[in-house]
Amino acid sequence: MDILYKVLIEPFVFMGEAPDLLVQTLWEGLVSGVLYALIALGFVLIFKASGVFNFAQGIMVVFAALTLIGLYEKGIPAFLALLLTAGVMLVLAMAVERLVLRPLVNQPDIILFMATFGLTYLLIGLGELIFGGSPKEMITGALYLPQGTTEVTVLGGPVRLQHLDIAAAVIASAMIAVLAVFFSKTRIGRALRAVADSHKAALSVGISLNQIWVIVWFAAGLVALVAGIMWGARSGVSFSLQIIALKALPVLILGGFTSIPGAIVGGLIVGMGEKIGEFYWGPLVGGGIDTWLAYVIALLFLLYRPQGLFGERIIERI
């Protein structure tokens, strides 16, 4: 009974007693949720257009951030370095299309998935060879990202808002909005949705698959760059950052593999659920539950709705 009280009653009593702590936790969850969503977005873009589950998205985040810092350290002005990094991501997208995707066209999903594993290893080795394995500071100041904190009084208690977090939420939302408009209103966006529906049909109306793949990998690279800057500003840039890519998986599951709104909603659910779970229920079992909580949430959700919140209904035919 005691354990039931501790699990079912006490956390909620605590939430009610200190609503400002709850708001603080929710805010932190919201920010990390937006950042998870940003990484998940990179996955969704590529999965939609090519059916490839891109495991290398995590290392692309690290690689983009490291390239930016590396260029800046060479004495290139920050914003020029940003442009150059985008250029590097374009070259990477073209190389991936030419060297990995094109020879592997029409292979089963798992083979393409494994190929992105190979890409991950390749990029880890290349990144460490060029930039060294030691963690680096993100060039927050040079990019005019705001720093410092504001304290707001909410529900009778102070809530600390990091300016960087606010900026991250705004930039990520803007990025998502731009992508949404790009994919629904522009010519390339329409072509991309056609490819997502059916490769064959898209090819038969004259859409170049190769070109579309370069574009989505480039878009995923840009998303990775933004995610790298934001995550890097929060926790430094190192190769251990690629583990956050795995955090994007439950986000995808919740939202559905092919849905951009799903990635956002899933990201928010995972981010907030994780923070609340860790803060209120974590101490009961010794903490650290945020390493697996998101997966368990996603797993339980899957049993109820296998295609995710916004995913396409899975129809099977014989």
Partner: protein, 361 residues
């Protein structure tokens, strides 16, 4: 002219369906097994300890994952955690009942892993493919968290690590600091051969054919009267059993002690590489994959400095490590492009060519 099918007539159905239909194959296998046992007495301790024992352990784990992914078609990224369950179960059993033969506990610990594997295989009826991969990732992270947070698993050991207690077999130490690489290698080799033999019969029999039917088309399999849930759960259980035994062998007969960290997600990926590179749905492929993925980086560490030195490039150990990563990554991609069916397929083609040699067709 060594490899001839001509003249070997099959007079019974059993002989026609045997694993090794050709006399040459049977002789070849006997030679390989004899050589493997001879290596225990001829090879150096380094060869046994750093190359052959881990190769066998990884082969066993790869067979485990291959049963699940290659034969039953269920993707799993939780192999490392299932290996961990085997290792921790083996540790608890060994320390709780020290008088029982250690080999018994190594084999029994696999059943704990099988139970946990089947539990995490439960969602496989509802979900499949990459979605299922997330379920197995949940197992990976949850179990790894348990290894850290539950001190009971390591008998409240302060260091939180598994250490191999001294255990003997017929009076010869096989587990613990005093066990020689030679005896450990012989034990591992015997177990791996026995379990491989078991697996090869399993996958060719009724159960294996059910797995393959489910892999190829689960709906059609269901219409044919195969119970999907039982079949999939059995695949998870058997696969986890092999992984659990491999984990126990890895900790107690290879490392001699380990921390929770050896069962991390990279271990799972590592074994998935072996299965894919070796060949999905092929037992011999599991051995090839383990050899390539495990031995190749060691070989590269030896070869790279020699190759690069004539160009005046003196490379540090760190650079070699990075190059290794790159080369492994590039090789994975290259293999997938050149031979998506893995090394096992190359082996098959090679044998086919030998049968008709010296004619091309």
């Amino acid at each position: 002219m060594l490899y001839r099918e001509a003249g070997q007539f099959k007079t019974t159905y059993a002989s026609d369906m045997a694993v090794f239909r050709l006399r040459e194959d049977r002789i070849g296998l006997a030679v390989i097994i004899a050589a493997a046992y001879a290596a225990a007495f001829l090879g150096s301790d380094f060869l046994l300890q750093a190359v052959l024992i881990p190769f066998l352990v990884f082969s066993l784990a790869a067979i485990g994952l291959n049963i699940l992914t290659g034969y039953a078609g269920q993707l799993s990224l939780g192999t490392g955690a299932f290996m961990g369950v085997g290792a921790y179960a083996c540790y608890k059993l060994m320390t709780a009942f020290p008088e029982v033969n250690v080999i018994v506990w190594v084999l029994v610990s696999g059943f704990f892993s099988a139970a946990v594997g089947a539990l995490f295989g439960l969602p496989s009826l509802r979900i499949k493919g990459f979605y299922l991969a997330v379920a197995t990732l949940a197992a990976q992270f949850f179990l790894q968290w348990c290894f850290i947070r539950v001190p009971w698993l390591v008998n409240y050991n302060v260091s939180g690590a598994l250490d191999a207690p001294l255990r003997t077999l017929f009076g010869i130490p096989v587990v613990g600091a005093t066990a020689t690489p030679q005896t450990r290698y012989l034990v591992v080799l015997t177990l791996v051969i026995a379990l491989t033999w078991l697996a090869s019969n399993l996958v060719r029999g009724r159960i294996g054919r059910m797995w393959i039917a489910v892999r190829d088309m689960d709906l059609a399999a269901e219409l044919m009267g195969i119970r999907l849930l039982q079949t999939k759960l059995l695949a998870f259980a058997v696969s986890s059993y092999y992984c659990g035994v491999a984990g126990a062998l890895m900790v107690f007969l290879w490392y001699g002690g380990a921390e929770y960290d050896v069962f991390n997600i990279n271990q799972s990926f590592f074994i998935l590489f072996m299965v894919i590179i070796g060949g999905l749905g092929s037992l011999v492929g599991s051995f090839f994959g383990a050899a390539l993925i495990f031995i190749m980086p060691i070989a590269l560490g030896v070869v790279l400095p020699v190759v690069l030195s004539p160009f005046g490039l003196s490379v540090g150990a760190e650079t070699i490590e990075h190059l290794r990563f790159m080369i492994v990554g590039a090789l994975i991609i290259l293999f997938l492009i050149v031979e998506p069916h893995g090394l096992a397929r190359l082996w098959q083609i090679g044998k086919q060519k030998l049968l008709v040699w010296p004619f091309p067709y």
